[in-house]
């Protein structure tokens, strides 16, 4: 198998005057989970639609396992499974009928379908239209992951899933990686990328601004922390690596980049009643970081 599962060269897509994606040069290695990160409208879905042959590039090209996704479209897609971000269901069908019908299109093995429905606790006898949003998303996930292929392209897969199912989804994705399969996971949820991915690419305004390992991603990640002390907050509170610190009565608020460990160690000297961390939006946490580094 090729070392590179997905590769693009100057992949560009314009919608009229709008540059949705510009000169994307991307390499996703075989056997890794690659997080494709970016805020809404960054160009993630455009990239995926170009890879799946749903759109033609304005210029540039893309290959999956050495096959051009446009010139060798059907053959390239024979190695890929696609989980789109939008709901893609026939609501009048029963879950089992739907999974079987779409499984037949790609010769998905029944055994794998049964395993996945069991693990995600999906009732195949129910009509899709009667399911909750979360259960509908489970159907979409099983439909995509039932296929036995080397490359999975998944766009916002955990939207609407409850935390336990998200966890199970994470396990399934990790198992796919352990089996040597490649996953391109598009998301705007940083914690999801941190938990699942080996490497991440960060996209902004249609341009790839950074490709990092997850360890680097954690360093760049910013959190808002609110600490409530027992009594007045110490006036001499000094914590390495924090910014925008403000103290009011018994509460200190600040932002921290990267590991939260120094914060915990610094706070250990005081009596802390409550500690809250809050993840800022993608735009706030990451892109500011890369802008300040001149990456954008």
């Amino acid at each position: 198998m090729s070392d590179i599962a997905i590769q693009t060269w100057g992949l560009t897509k314009h919608y009229g005057d709008v540059e949705a994606l510009t000169d994307l040069n991307l390499e996703v290695r075989s056997g890794e989970i690659f997080g494709y990160l970016g805020p809404n409208g960054a160009g993630k879905t455009t990239t995926i639609r170009l890879l799946m042959g749903l759109m033609r590039p304005t210029r540039g090209r893309a290959e999956v396992l050495g096959l051009d996704v446009h010139r060798d479209g059907p053959t390239a897609r024979n190695s890929m499974s696609f989980l789109p971000s939008d709901s893609s269901l026939y609501t009048f069908m029963k879950v089992g009928q739907y999974l079987e019908a779409f499984g037949n299109l790609t010769n998905a093995p029944r055994k794998r379908r049964d395993e996945l429905t069991e693990r995600l606790e999906l009732d195949t006898s129910r009509k899709i239209g009667d399911l909750s949003m979360g259960n509908r998303q489970k159907v979409v996930v099983v439909r995509a992951l039932q296929e036995d292929v080397p490359v999975y392209v998944v766009d916002e897969p955990t939207r609407g899933l409850d935390p336990l199912v998200q966890q199970e989804f994470g396990k399934i994705i990790s198992e796919l990686r352990d089996e040597g399969r490649t996953v391109l996971l598009s998301t705007h949820v940083l914690s999801e990328a941190e938990a699942l991915c080996d490497r991440v690419g960060i996209l902004r305004l249609g341009r790839l601004v950074q490709v990092d390992t997850v360890a680097d991603l954690s360093v760049a990640r910013m959190r808002r922390v609110t600490v409530t002390f027992d009594g007045e907050a110490p006036a001499d509170l000094t914590i390495p690596g924090v910014s925008d610190i403000s103290i009011e009565d018994g509460t200190a608020r600040f932002e921290v980049s990267g590991s939260i460990d120094p914060v915990i160690k610094a706070l250990a000297r005081y009596t802390v009643v409550d500690l809250e961390t809050d993840e800022p939006s993608f735009e706030e946490s990451f892109l500011q970081h890369y802008e300040s580094e001149g990456g954008a």
Partner: protein, 269 residues
Amino acid sequence: MSLSVIRLTLRTRRLAIFWFDFGILALGLLIMGLWPLFAENWDDLTQAMGGSEVFGGTQVEGASAQQNTFYSYFSSQYTSTLMLVLAYFGVWFGAGLITRDFGTGTLDVLLAAPMSRTRFLLSRIAALLVLTTVVVAASYVAILVGAAIWAREVDLGALELLVVHLQMLVFTLAVAGGGLLLATLILQPGRTYGLAAGIIVIMFVLLIVADIASNLEWLEKISIFGYWNPVDQLGPGDFIWRDTLVLGVTALVTSAIALVIFRRRDIVA
């Protein structure tokens, strides 16, 4: 062609087709069942309504007076209604062949399967052919059974009726081809159905205008309804190839253009 795509397409339309068939079967049997009553009171009825024109006034060359009476009845009470039903079916199914899946988001998943767009659309067109045949066959069965029970004296041949329904089939495919062409251009279901229905209504109005104004008879030729003449096929004359050929070519050309457009166009979310 992909059997999986054909099967999936048939499966997702089977309930609607069942009701379409049920309706057409019921309509056909009802019209045939009422024929003896109309035949018995034909003169009184036509007189009361202001002449046989009201009931179509069909005069097929070489047909007996009784046959022409039946053709008039059949034309005014059945085929003129069926023309609109089949046009609606053609718009609904032809335009929906692509737009319906675009609307539900399933088109993305279908096109992500390892098959070319040409193969996908040809499979969909094959499903269209099957479903249209099933719908038109319902009419054929209804009239055949109805004729055997209530119109034995008219001498309706199974072969003549088959030819009538062959033209109905090609007519429906021509409308569906137009709907499919619009669908590949527009993709959004609401706009496609709306535009296709609008064009059909305009064509129907053109037919009426051509019927009323003798100097505008040529309008009939630019309306698809101008090529709908199933009752004329019932007479002992030859099959009217020209009109069916025009409908057939329309179906083929619109489908071919749709295929060319669909192969190249972006499917934007």
